[in-house]
Point group: C3
């Protein structure tokens, strides 16, 4: 939403390290701090009260790299040592620690808390107050809804770490917790308020505490069209570029051939 | 809690647009930003590190209107395009997007995330980390406790939006999720940690994952008096004006006629 | 993690009351506010955008006392009237209200919201987005994982307050809610995504909605060693001083006498 952005330029009260590499045409808001070890792509907006490149020895001197065209909303904190492809968009008060590697056009909702030491693919969207622990491996086009927690420790507290794996196009509904090392299959749906402690097969729906198989995901019908609501790429298109939509039309053609 | 307030006046580091309309006797804290399209009622306090009137094209040029006597605690963000009656009180780090219309004396707990495009009645109280999605219709005197989520999308992700309806005097206990389009009946109680996917009848208690009818709400007994704890307006009076309490005494007389 | 700390000194944009008592060798970040009624121990770091000693009449003029060697990360808010032993460490955006009394080396995760009027022992660790209501009594060496809520009102809303009691070495896994007045026994484990409405016996595991007895905690086996994962003090040692570890070796010897 570029029209939310302040005009390009550094606000007078921002504290920008002269060693930070700020691309052309960036806008940086009031009371924002940019530390030394930051590479910010051109045309990015960083709103007010943020911190970029927060120092930590755990980053082992790697920079924070944010691709061009980012929109980082206010009060967010990014540590040094993580990298993001072009088109990052965040809500307010996001926290991202070191050693997260994320692809193109990640969207992180308000109050997201990403612990780093994890990988995220392209075009992933996470909503408000999502917590992602270490070693998560999140694929492409994944959706994670408000208050979802991905864990990493099978018998807390311990030194064992097993990251959650979320495959492409999976969708995890609000307030679900995913146990360490669990694999959420491609194009699957985790229903709201579930505790997932077994792997979820592709193209299925699970739910409950603990979560159990509910149905094939194609059995969930879209309320307006009466056709299958999953895979969602058949009906939900907002915010994806044309070449992605064209690819989906080939990969996930409408079952009845209807538009 | 006016005695928490700084004395009236604009802190020297605050950034206030000359086009913002600030009422008489307001106090605005350090490092707070007030954008152009803001009408702030007289006698209000806005603490430090806040943003009022954050611009968005989705507001369609409507202002942020905050009634007189507001207390907005630190690090909060309000977009342009929402309106609040007199006596708004918030915790810290609240986020409110555009096109929320709220009545008198709304209280939003710390970390509340209200997505806007919703209506809220009078004297509503929400606690910490409450998430309210689009199209919610919340009545009067409603209570929503920590970490509750009101959703809006029946098969996420999709373009379908069905708001939750919460009727007057209903109470939703901690960490419950309410599914899209569900109606929470008047004077009902949703027990803690519930997933509500069916309408809740007035004057009943539901609970569980998924939530089921547990009992009439009058069967829950107050631990100190032994009389019914619901409707709660018979015993809980803190923070409401005298005329409201008088009205409750008539509408919800104590069953045994006892004081 | 002292190497994250800025060098000692007061940042130029910080607003420090001349009546605040700041110990030797403290570092205070940009855009941070320190009010009058604050005693900050020597060698502490307070990052940017924080508020210390936020005034409230509910503190009854008691100061905010933070022991030496604290690390308070950015955007945190501490009210006057609470006290913390040496070695406090917080994440970002922590909120702590008045009349919390905490011991040595408390660690509060990012987005923690502590309502005050509670006690916390020594070496307690709480993770991201933990909510602690009034009158909680938390022992020593307790672990509380992300998005856990400790409640206080048995029939909300009411004026009845019964705090949760968490005994030494107990562990509460992610996204569990503990009902008012419940006692979580020593060395017990509450499994993830549970609703706990009955007391939990020492050395047991409970889980579910509502939570039921699952097993003795010694039946949970460590994934790498195959020996009991609880009590966790047999295998988890990171971050505790040598005298504590020596004490644990005596109190909780490995069952097989193995190192």
């Amino acid at each position: 939403m570029p029209s939310e952005a302040p005009v390009a330029g550094i606000s007078p009260s921002a504290r920008i390290s002269p060693r930070a590499q700020i691309g052309e045409g960036c806008a940086i808001g009031e009371f924002t701090i940019v530390h030394d070890n930051v590479v910010l792509g051109g045309g990015s907006t960083v709103e007010s009260h943020c911190i970029l490149g927060h120092p930590t020895p755990l980053a082992e001197d790697r920079p924070l790299v944010i691709g061009p065209g980012a929109l980082i909303r206010s009060h967010s904190v990014f540590y040094e040592g993580s990298s993001f492809g072009p088109g990052l968009v965040t809500g307010h008060r996001v926290t991202v620690r070191e050693k997260l590697a994320a692809g193109v056009n990640l969207q992180i909702g308000t109050l997201g808390d990403f612990q780093g030491h994890a990988t995220i693919g392209d075009y992933v969207r996470t909503h408000s107050s999502v917590f992602i622990a270490h070693h998560a491996q999140i694929g492409n086009f994944v959706w994670i809804f408000p208050h979802v927690v991905l864990t990493d420790d099978p018998h807390p507290p311990s030194e064992v770490r097993r990251g959650v794996v979320v495959e492409d196009y999976a969708s995890i509904a609000t307030m679900s917790a995913i146990m360490p090392g669990i694999r959420i299959g491609a194009r699957s749906l985790v229903a709201a308020h579930s505790l997932v402690n077994k792997d979820v097969a592709p193209d299925t729906v699970v739910g409950g505490v603990p979560a159990r198989f509910l149905c094939e995901s194609s059995k969930i019908l879209h309320e307006q069209t009466g056709r299958p609501a999953y895979p969602w790429m058949r009906h939900f298109r907002r915010g994806y570029p044309g070449e992605i939509l064209a690819s989906w039309a080939r990969q996930f053609p409408d079952e009845g051939g209807r538009p």
